[in-house]
């Protein structure tokens, strides 16, 4: 009944039996009566442990994640930050590198500003606390930010950063990928545009193999203005 297909990873749906060995259960699975089942719709990765890599879903932060957030509100002592998750995050005024007054907060980051943050705390009720990354607040004043599903972030980065390196190499842009699926691209307008196109394509084809080669070809074709209708 459950045929295994020869894609590089098996597509599974919630409730699919993955293993009879409960000790192998990892993320995206659950165990019942000593058996491991899939908890989500995704790709089963069966090496030492069995985990299921999601194909969709909402970003949930974990401590240490570096994300791109957008200020959505300023309260007396906190910036409220949207991090593309079901939960709003907060950065407390005291996390700012130097001591500031409440009235100065809007000078540093206004509503609508984007910046790079680090997640420093997530509690049981999903209260999320942020701090500037590496002690220095980086507000993004130039370039553009695109949203992709957080599940595609590993593909955008590539193995050991190969995909990001490829984009930086072929195009004259700086790229920063947040764990929450927000990607900052900064460079010349035409290059930024092409980078956005390439990233959208990576997102769409994230589950296929040979993607790096196709993106290389895509960038070269686009750069030489050759358009091939597929």
């Amino acid at each position: 009944m459950r045929k295994k297909e020869k894609v590089d990873k098996t597509i599974v749906v919630p409730g699919d039996l993955l293993s009879d060995d409960a000790a192998k259960a990892a993320e995206g699975t659950y165990t019942e009566n000593g058996k491991v089942y899939s908890l989500i719709y995704g790709l089963a990765d069966e090496r030492e442990k069995i985990r299921v890599i999601p194909l969709s879903g909402k970003y949930l932060p974990t401590i240490g994640d570096v994300v791109i957030g957008m200020v959505s509100d300023i309260s007396f002592s906190n910036w409220k930050v949207n991090i593309n998750s079901p939960y709003e995050a907060l950065m407390h005024i005291s996390e700012y590198p130097r001591r500031i007054e409440s009235s100065e907060m809007a000078k540093i980051m206004r509503v609508g500003d984007l910046a790079i943050f680090k997640v420093i705390d997530v509690d049981q009720s999903m209260k999320i606390e942020l701090a500037p990354r590496e002690g220095q607040l980086r507000v993004l004043r130039s370039g553009r930010v695109v949203d992709v599903s957080y599940t595609k972030v590993p593909r955008v980065i590539g193995r050991a950063g190969s995909m990001v390196s490829l984009l930086k190499d072929k195009l004259d842009v700086n790229i920063f990928v947040g764990k929450n699926g927000r990607i900052w691209i900064n460079g010349k307008a035409a290059d930024e545009e092409l980078a956005v196109k390439a990233i959208k394509r990576i997102e769409q084809e994230a589950h296929t193999s040979g993607l790096t080669d196709r993106i290389t070809k895509f960038l070269e074709e686009e750069k030489h203005g050759i358009y091939e209708e597929r």
Partner: protein, 236 residues
Amino acid sequence: MEFMKNGKRIDDRLPNELRPVKFEVGVLERADGSCYVEHGRNKVIAAVYGPRAVHPRHLQEANRAIIRYRYNMASFSVEERKRPGPDRRSIEISKVSREAIDPVIIKEFYPRSTIDIFVEILQADAGTRSAGINAASVALADAGVPMRGLISSCAVGKVDDTVVLDLVKEEDNYGQADMPIAMDVRTGEVTLLQMDGHLTLEEFEQALELAKTGCARIAEMQREALIQKYRGEENE
């Protein structure tokens, strides 16, 4: 009305045969997950949003997500124009459908949030609540919601003293009984069971077994549809 002729039903099916069913996953761009289902002449679309922040705030739960389910019939879904908006029937169906799907969702992963499910009946021909649950379940998986399994649903009933699977409109309206059920096929847990009409105990047991075989077939189709969404793109 005569329903059974030479062991065949009014639409030429056998008593234990489902109508043709088609699932399509990810049909809506804006929703987090979606599914379109054609179940015989039923046409149903389901959209899932979330987990997301709860509005109004007083509905939120501190330690888990809440599930909201809206079943709605389009005014053009039935022969005589239906007055739009919720009515007694659709409020009841929303409630029982939510309770049919709720037990498999892992709500504790998403405190203070909501998962909203919208089921729109575009065309109705008996068994819309089942079709809606089937679509909603696939749409939830498509949205990446963690679940212990998929919920599958179908109806059984009785016409001309014969227990039959998956009634059409005529069989439902003029038959002797109609009984929709929903279940997690893997565990065998039944999450919805309603009955309209009369069945003897023996008939009930026979009907329940028949419904389970129907749900098992639906479950296979749901699974196949989800897998096809990604495999289809690969074979471009």
